[in-house]
């Protein structure tokens, strides 16, 4: 039986491995981090049902136990060899694979690039990722009994100046989730969400938004934040425009949470070049066809799953991973 290499051990890679195991294969996962789980492993709860992320990761880890897993390992070369792919890992292992699945995911936008928001300059400006780590029980001295919190949507998403025109899909709902979570922890805190428009397309997302307003009193302000400054007592002054009332506004908050979006994972660009894979205009990997062949690359035997081709939610990523496993199975059966 031919080898199948999965590059990336996030939820896409793990779910694809789970399905391939069910189909009778023993896939090989190569993950550069020291543990499986990817971005989801550092998340606290997932919308819209507040499912603990750790439950998803634990379940996947348990179910892929029979797979061969290399953590803390990178693929350093890939080349086509008589219909198969020869991969070399940085631990010296070489693998000949009949199929390769890119599940290389995304990078979180570096919020410090949006200089006007002051991430990395003003102490209490944090990101969605920082907040999620704190919610998961991590220490963060920047968060201390806040009386007011602001959330800035679309940080590095739908932003040509930041080099990313695409919507990151998850940020609106994540902001609502985190706003509710902060309200649960600090019921007296005023919470402001600054948004361009709310993209609540998924199942129960709209209910989630209504709950945030009706049950938790979260203020939604349609307008971009223009600048952030620090007051004498270390709080943050946020200037924004309320485009519904047509007025500029200024509020002081104790924490400002920047909803950093998803950008393409350029750390795999050398591998992508070696494999001669096409890159899309947005920097993500280009599918052979965006409707019918979304999981296929321009190279035979190389498949995609998850956010390596564009921004995805966790359910979308899992669904793609299952489908990719089936595509690989069909390819190997028919190949």
């Amino acid at each position: 039986m031919k080898n199948i290499v999965i590059i990336g051990g996030g939820v896409a890679g793990m779910e694809a491995a789970r399905q391939l195991l069910a189909l009778g294969y023993t896939p090989i996962i190569v993950e550069k981090a020291n543990a499986l789980g990817g971005h989801v492993a550092s998340w606290y709860r997932l919308f819209p049902d507040m499912t603990p992320a750790s439950e998803i990761i634990s379940r996947l880890k348990k179910e892929i136990a029979p797979a061969n897993v290399f953590t803390g390992t990178k693929v350093i070369s890939i080349s086509r060899e008589k219909g198969d792919y020869s991969l070399t890992l940085d631990n010296g292992v070489s693998i000949l694979a009949g199929a390769v699945l890119f599940a290389t995911g995304f990078k979180v936008f570096d919020a410090s690039k949006k200089e006007e928001y002051g991430y990395g300059v003003y102490d209490r400006v944090i990101t969605n990722r920082d907040l999620e780590a704190w919610l998961s029980g991590g220490e963060d001295k920047r968060i201390s009994a806040p009386k007011a919190i602001g959330f800035v949507h679309c940080v590095g998403s739908r932003d040509l100046k930041a080099g990313n025109s695409q919507c990151s899909k998850v940020c609106c709902t994540t902001a609502i989730k985190q706003a509710i979570e902060m309200k649960e922890k600090f019921p007296k805190a005023e919470i402001y969400c600054f948004y361009m428009d709310l993209r609540l397309f998924g199942k129960k997302y709209e209910d989630f938004y209504i709950n945030a307003q009706r049950d938790f009193g979260v203020h939604f302000i349609r307008g971009r934040v223009s600048e952030v400054g620090e007051t004498i007592d270390g709080r943050l002054q946020v200037k924004a425009e309320d485009t519904l009332s047509g007025k500029p506004l200024k509020v002081q908050v104790d924490n400002l949470v920047l909803m950093s979006g998803m950008v393409c994972n350029q750390s795999v660009s050398e591998l992508v070049r070696q494999a001669r894979l096409d890159i899309d205009d947005d920097g993500f990997l280009r599918s052979r066809n965006n409707i019918f062949d979304i999981l296929e690359s321009n190279r035979p035997g190389i498949f995609y799953a998850g956010a390596c081709t564009g921004t995805k939610t966790v359910p979308e990523t899992l669904a793609e991973a299952r489908a990719a496993a089936l595509e690989i199975h069909n390819y190997l059966q028919n190949g």
Binding site: E115, G118, V121, Y122, D123, E227, G229, E230, T231, I232
Partner: protein, 356 residues
């Protein structure tokens, strides 16, 4: 505040500033507001630092004020700019330094417009030739004069007699730096330190011993804003903008404000009197205002020039408390004596804000 975060941004916005041979153009209005500042720029660069800084009396306005007041079209402005470049070319220079922030922004905008639309540059060259039979080369380097003082700030510090330090406590003086809007807000990479956290004045303050104050309305306009002031009916907006800035910086108790724009020091200085008249409030200690300086004036003070030779008697807000903190000597009786030592007359002193 995470200082390292600012340092990281500053490192992303550094510009190449040649060390010598500059063609210098003055501002339309600075010599009326703070007349010794441009004189001090040439004195420091030529006299103290021994640099080649050339200027010509044939230089005119760049058209920036009219442009930003929406009274002349961009094509006219660009033709005026082309003529300035022609004067530089005729003088044999290729490094162009503007004293005015709006001129600097205007030159930057013109060069960027020509880069994006080369056909416009061709048209402007034709306009210039038809109008005055001149031709020009574009500057190899474009700088604002504060860029040059920033570039030579350490040399100035080494030659300096004073530092921006409270002589009694040994503590650095707390300085608000205010950057003209047209310096980097249009083209962040054209300014030292970028648009959000400019370093051009902060670098001077640090090199000369002071401490920079960051406050929430730091980026806000001084209040000039061209149409806010030049359209007389809008002057309430002008003073209310200035008021907003002073309310925001008040809790930080700054010792002084340093600026790099023609309008900013004027409005931050003069409107303090108006605010005091309107509200009865002053923002310095003991009924004084917060003194506002140009960077040339501060450089001159650091180098030990007589405050009255720097033109500080033309400030609305009293500068003496600031001089006393540093320990700079001055003769109060000589404050209103001109260069020829004759009395230049004394202004009436207001009751609302303490002045000498």
């Amino acid at each position: 505040m995470i200082y390292e975060g600012k340092q990281k941004i500053w490192s992303d916005y550094q510009k190449e500033i040649p060390d010598d041979h500059w063609y210098y153009v003055r501002s339309c209005i600075r010599q009326n507001f703070f007349p010794a500042s441009e004189r001090m720029f040439t004195e420091i660069t030529r006299g103290v630092l021994g640099k080649d800084v050339y200027e010509t009396p044939y230089h005119t306005t760049c058209g920036g004020i009219a442009y930003h007041c929406d009274t002349i079209p961009q094509e006219t402005v660009m033709t005026i700019v082309a003529r300035q470049f022609a004067l530089m070319t005729e003088a044999g220079y290729e490094n162009y330094v503007a004293s005015c922030i709006t001129s600097f922004g205007n030159y930057s905008e013109t060069l960027e417009t020509w880069r994006e639309f080369p056909e416009l540059e061709t048209k402007i060259r034709e306009n210039l030739w038809k109008a005055c039979r001149r031709e020009f080369k574009k500057p190899k380097y474009l700088a604002h004069s504060s860029d040059l003082i920033y570039h030579w700030r350490e040399e100035i510090a080494k030659k300096g007699r004073f530092r921006l330090v409270n002589r009694e406590t040994g503590e650095p003086l707390r300085i608000v730096e205010h950057i003209g809007c047209h310096y980097a807000k249009m083209f962040p990479h054209k300014g030292v330190g970028g648009a959000e956290y400019p370093y051009v004045l902060a670098g001077m303050v640090e090199s000369w011993g002071g401490q920079v104050v960051d406050y929430p309305e730091r980026r806000h306009c001084c209040g000039y804003g061209f149409r806010q002031y030049h359209v007389k009916a809008n002057r309430g907006y002008s003073v209310s903008n200035t008021h907003k800035k002073f309310e925001s910086m008040e809790p930080f108790h700054p010792d002084a404000i340093i600026t790099n724009c023609p309008g900013c020091p004027y409005f931050l200085d003069r409107w303090q009197y108006v605010i005091a008249e309107q509200t009865g409030k002053t923002y310095g200690r003991d009924g004084f205002g917060i003194p506002v300086f140009t960077y040339e004036e501060i450089a001159g003070l650091v180098l030990g020039y007589d405050p009255w030779d720097l033109g500080l008697q033309l400030h609305q807000v009293a500068v003496e408390p600031f001089l006393d903190k540093i320990g700079i000597e001055y003769d109060p009786k000589a404050k209103y004596l001109g260069l020829n030592r004759e009395d230049i007359m004394r202004p009436g002193l207001p009751d609302s804000i303490k002045c000498f």
